[in-house]
């Protein structure tokens, strides 16, 4: 009996201490891990759509809730500001729309004053390779640059991809969704 109690106590203690120290390490590394992930996963896209800034958009990111998903969990919008001399002149954020196969996520950069696109980059998609997947190529994304988003942009303003109408429309819809998000949350996004 003594032996059984001893075994249970020792094993419980070891597991408890282990759990406690893991929780400690987790709380210390939470911030750096989030930063490292954004830095490695999002930074290439942010760099592609913003230019001529002197801050670290990843470090200066702002995040706020813009709604809930169908399970009632909060959906956050992460905004990466581009600043020069401390003034935010452009923001980058992700916007998405439904494509041919699943969501097409687009990182878009917007000039705050002119409401002009500084660049777009398709970050997530599962479109058909060779057809819809061409939405990631610069021949498709470059014409978006400089377009002013006073109203929704339409097909005539860009190079559409023949044979990939749905994918083309998905990127357009994502950009136009982004325009609406920007109109709605402008004050929170530009700080």
């Amino acid at each position: 009996m003594r032996e059984i109690i001893n075994m249970a106590v020792v094993l419980t203690l070891i597991c408890a201490i282990s759990g406690f120290s893991l929780a400690m390490v987790h709380s210390v590394t939470k911030e750096p891990i989030e930063y490292a992930k954004l830095k490695n996963v999002k930074e290439p896209a942010v760099k592609a759509v913003l230019s001529d800034y002197d801050n670290d958009p990843i470090k200066d990111r702002a995040s706020f809730q813009i709604g809930t998903d169908k399970y009632g969990r909060p959906v956050n919008l992460v905004v990466f500001p581009a600043r020069k001399n401390g003034k935010t002149f452009a923001v980058a954020f992700e916007s998405s729309a439904k494509g041919y196969k699943g969501e097409v996520g687009v990182m878009m950069g917007l000039d705050v004053e002119k409401k002009a696109i500084t660049g777009i980059s398709v970050v997530t998609h599962s479109e058909t390779p060779g057809l819809g997947a061409k939405i990631t190529e610069s021949a498709f994304t470059d014409p978006f640059k400089g377009k002013v988003l006073e109203n929704d942009i339409n097909k005539d303003q860009i190079n559409t991809l023949s044979g990939a109408t749905i994918s083309t429309n998905a990127v357009l819809a994502a950009v136009n969704n982004g325009r609406q998000t920007f109109e709605k949350y402008k004050d929170k996004m530009v700080q």
Binding site: N6, M7, I14, S21, A36, K37, N40
Partner: protein, 204 residues
């Protein structure tokens, strides 16, 4: 003196992948370049030293019937700590090593050293043992990764080392190349130790 002896045995006498032939899963899987090999080796070394130290300190408190469970919990905790730290501060390496970091838990070297050494030796000797074995493992992975990287990509630690017209032997960085280079290295090491043993016998 004992410290040096326990440390140095890991570098040749019980060199993990080649003499104990333990820990082959990461040895085969991550040695596509010298850098990956060294990274995996160092992560394993860290876990090994920490788990050896703790097992040795707790060896009298842990009842022998639950010792394996206790050793695994200790090793698993250090592996998760390593994983979190690596994710936070060496994200690039974490992306490359990926799934093999959590798998350090079931690496036979960790449990093997806890069971065979740390549970019956003092903390200082156990740390020396962990350092020696870990360093031996790191060096083995580094050399194996280096050989595969030079032949398979023409580079070493990312820098070009072979002549420009060298056609990379892509087979070497794929899975079969791992088996072939590991086998050749095992053969070479066995040959050297057979020679050494023969010389010793003749000297007697």
């Amino acid at each position: 003196m004992a410290f040096v002896k326990e440390f140095s045995k890991g570098l040749w006498d019980v060199l993990p992948p080649f003499r104990l032939v333990l820990g082959l899963c990461p040895t085969l899987a991550v040695t596509t370049s010298a850098e990956n090999g060294a990274g995996m080796g160092l992560a394993t070394t860290f876990v090994l030293v920490c788990s050896n130290l703790l097992v040795s300190l707790l060896r009298k408190a842990i009842p022998s019937k639950v010792r394996i469970g206790a050793f695994i919990v200790i090793a698993a905790s250090f592996v998760v700590i390593t994983e979190l730290l690596m994710q936070a501060y060496f994200f690039g390496l974490y992306q490359v090593l990926g799934i093999f970091i959590p798998l350090i838990v079931v690496n036979c070297i960790i449990l093997g050293r806890a069971e065979a050494f740390a549970s019956s030796h003092g903390p200082i000797d156990s740390v020396a043992d962990g350092l020696g074995i870990g360093l031996g493992f790191t060096l083995s992975l580094f050399v194996l990764g280096g050989v595969r990287e030079v032949l398979g990509a023409g580079t070493l630690l990312g820098a070009r080392v072979l002549w420009d017209s060298f056609e990379p032997f892509a087979f070497m960085v794929k899975a079969p190349g791992a088996f072939v280079s590991l086998g050749v290295m095992l053969a070479i090491i066995n040959l050297i130790s057979a020679r050494m043993a023969a010389r010793k016998r003749r000297a007697q």
